[in-house]
């Protein structure tokens, strides 16, 4: 609580977002680029200290808690906000660019939040702002955006319930490392995992992200899932369940990406696949593994954005996103092709790229801990990535048969954004000490030893051989592969329709019966009026009771229907 000069880095982006809702022209461009740079400056100025804003409901709110881990994630998020802003300079939708910057601000808020209340607030800001990014793409994005929002609000409810239980049990709102051993902590973990794209509710990601605009998806790819990785690193390091969840995500992502046709869906599954690697590292839980997970998150923001920027340039130029309709674009889009290839080389973990220097840490950590299963699955994981992204994605988009499409490379700002991120992928791969000097858990690692280079090269080039030999069965077709969202998009809908039909039928039959009975009763009544009870003379008390009875009957009918 010493320094009163600490400014929350998120502030720069929230201010920027506010200006972006009204700014036009050069001011707008300036804010899109300068606000993230200002945020980056603030991130680096945050000392190892906490800064609070006083109490809320009797708890101390800590808006900024600085340490190596928060600055690590803050740095990549600010860089990403800058690159995404540069890429989106000619995006004319003001709602999208403002929401995107607020969304990045929310992510920065989460990584610097020192207490669970402000963490939760920023968490929800991210959910709302990212939904706005998706909705900005137009009417076609609305249903998917709504499903996305519902899923994240549901995750928020789980998180809030868990946090309330945790705060009640411990009496403290500090956000610290936990072991999932109480129902409240399991709820917190579940809330985090929904944002990480973990099973069984991962389908929101490939459902919603591809519906965003091509500039919006670049931003979406970076923040939600990597913020989840951050909170898992902070909250549940060494939780063994994360190993199994992570390994499942790794192979789920590969299998679904191998089947997908839409570039953006492939890259959505790729996000799940790569986050799976990070969760595995968090589950292993040694300092090397945690550093590996944090580094891999850093690298993954870069290469995922790079591949999505290349895909965005293709969509912008051709209006198409399906592998089955693309091909041969390297002729007219040399820069996009080169940057896209650097992206897939990085995700494949080729030496001299940042993917190589980060992913290996997790495998090495597993070997040191003698986790044989994890170690033996890391090679298939690496081979699978080289197969779906390194080969299948790049080949069918940029090479294969000539689709006859000749789109030009995108405008200068989009080219510059791609080149900037590609250069970072290579620079950090060639000079890994730039990263390693700031590792959150300060482990020491040397990626460039002979054995590691050789084995990674063997994995990648033999995956390429597998691709060439099996290219016939990897050919894309205009299909989607059903996922767990089928349960609420089809099965749930069918159940709902059948239920409502049943309710309608019962209601209809009941009304019919009531009507028939009423007609019958009226007929009887007429008979009674003509020759029975009602045509006789009665005392006033009898009539009063009769009137009350009618009133009660009327009320009963009114209440029932």
């Amino acid at each position: 609580m010493t320094a009163s000069l600490i400014l929350p880095p998120a502030l720069a982006l929230f201010l920027g977002a506010a200006i972006l809702t009204i700014a036009r022209g050069w001011l707008r461009s300036a804010v899109m680029l300068l606000a993230p740079l200002a945020a980056l400056g603030l991130v680096w100025m945050v000392p190892d200290a906490s800064w609070g804003v006083g109490g809320y409901l009797g708890y101390d709110l800590v808006l900024v808690r600085g340490d190596r881990l928060s600055r690590w994630f803050g740095t990549i998020f600010a860089i990403m906000a800058f690159a995404g802003g540069l890429f989106a300079l000619n995006q004319e939708n003001r709602l999208e660019t403002a929401a995107a910057q607020a969304y990045a601000g929310g992510a920065l808020g989460v990584v610097f939040a020192g207490d669970v209340l402000s963490l939760f607030a920023f968490w929800e800001v991210m959910a709302l702002a990212s939904t706005a990014v998706i909705w900005s793409a137009g009417p076609e994005a609305r249903p998917a955006g709504l499903r996305y929002l519902v899923m994240h609000l549901f995750g928020g409810v789980l998180l809030m319930t868990g946090l309330a239980g945790e705060v009640q049990a411990t009496g403290s709102v500090a956000f610290t490392a936990m072991v999932p051993d109480t129902p409240a902590r399991w709820l917190i973990l579940a809330g985090f995992l929904i944002n990480a794209g973990a099973p069984p509710l991962s389908a929101w990601l490939p459902d919603a992200y591809p519906k965003a605009s091509y500039t919006g998806m670049v931003m979406l790819s970076a923040f939600t899932t990597k913020t989840a990785v951050f909170v898992l690193l902070r909250g549940f390091p060494g939780a063994e369940v994360l190993i199994w969840v992570g390994l499942f995500m790794v192979f789920y992502g590969i299998v679904y990406a191998l089947l997908a046709d839409d570039m953006r869906r492939i890259l959505s599954f790729s996000i799940i696949n790569q986050v799976g690697v990070m969760l595995t590292g968090i589950g292993v839980g040694t300092t090397l593994a945690l550093d590996g997970a944090a580094s891999h998150a850093f690298a993954s923001v870069l290469y995922t954005a790079l591949m999505l920027m290349a895909a965005g340039a293709v969509i912008r130029g051709t209006g198409r996103a399906r592998l089955s309709e693309l091909g041969g674009l390297f002729r007219s889009m040399p820069i996009t092709t080169a940057c896209g290839l650097i992206g897939v080389m990085t995700i494949s973990g080729l030496p001299l790229t940042v993917g190589f220097v980060t992913k290996a840490m997790i495998g090495s950590a597993a070997a040191k801990e003698n986790l044989a299963l994890v170690w033996y699955l890391m090679i298939p994981a690496a081979a699978g990535v080289a197969l779906y992204a390194g080969c299948r994605f790049s080949w069918f988009v940029f090479f294969q048969r000539d689709s006859g499409l000749r789109p030009p490379d995108p405008p200068w700002n989009m080219r510059l954004a791609m080149v900037f991120v590609a250069a970072l992928c290579l620079l950090l791969g060639m000079v890994p000490d730039l990263l390693y000097a700031h590792l959150p858990y300060a482990s020491i690692y040397n990626p460039y030893d002979g054995a590691h280079v050789v084995s990674q090269m063997q994995i990648v080039v033999f995956a390429a051989l597998a691709f060439v030999l099996m290219i016939g069965v990897l050919r894309p077709s205009a299909t989607i592969t059903l996922d767990t969202d089928w349960l609420y998009r089809r099965f749930g809908l069918t159940v709902w329709r059948l239920t409502s039909q049943a309710i309608w039928t019962v209601w209809y039959l009941t009304s019919l019966a009531t009507w028939t009975l009423t007609v019958q009763a009226l007929t009887e009544l007429r008979l009674a009026v003509r020759e029975g009870f009602l045509s006789e003379r009665h005392g006033s008390s009898t009539m009063a009771i009769f009137a009350v009875g009618m009133l009660v009957f009327y009320l009963a009918v009114l209440l029932i229907f």
Partner: protein, 79 residues
Amino acid sequence: MSTLHPFTDRTAKRLWIIFIAILAATLAGGLFVHLHGLGGIEESFGFPAWYGFLACVVLVGVSRLIGFILKRPDNYYDG
């Protein structure tokens, strides 16, 4: 084959030669290093190559199987 790749047959042939050379070179690289591992078969010569290759075949097989069951036309949810 001309519809499957964007190269002339001559270029394709050259690329194949280069590709096979790279495959051989990475394998040969294994002669000069001792692979890391847990002390079992994974430290033997060429393990990442054949194990990774096999993994790709299995992954493609699994994805074919899942695709066979769960693939639908991509307008499935539109109707």
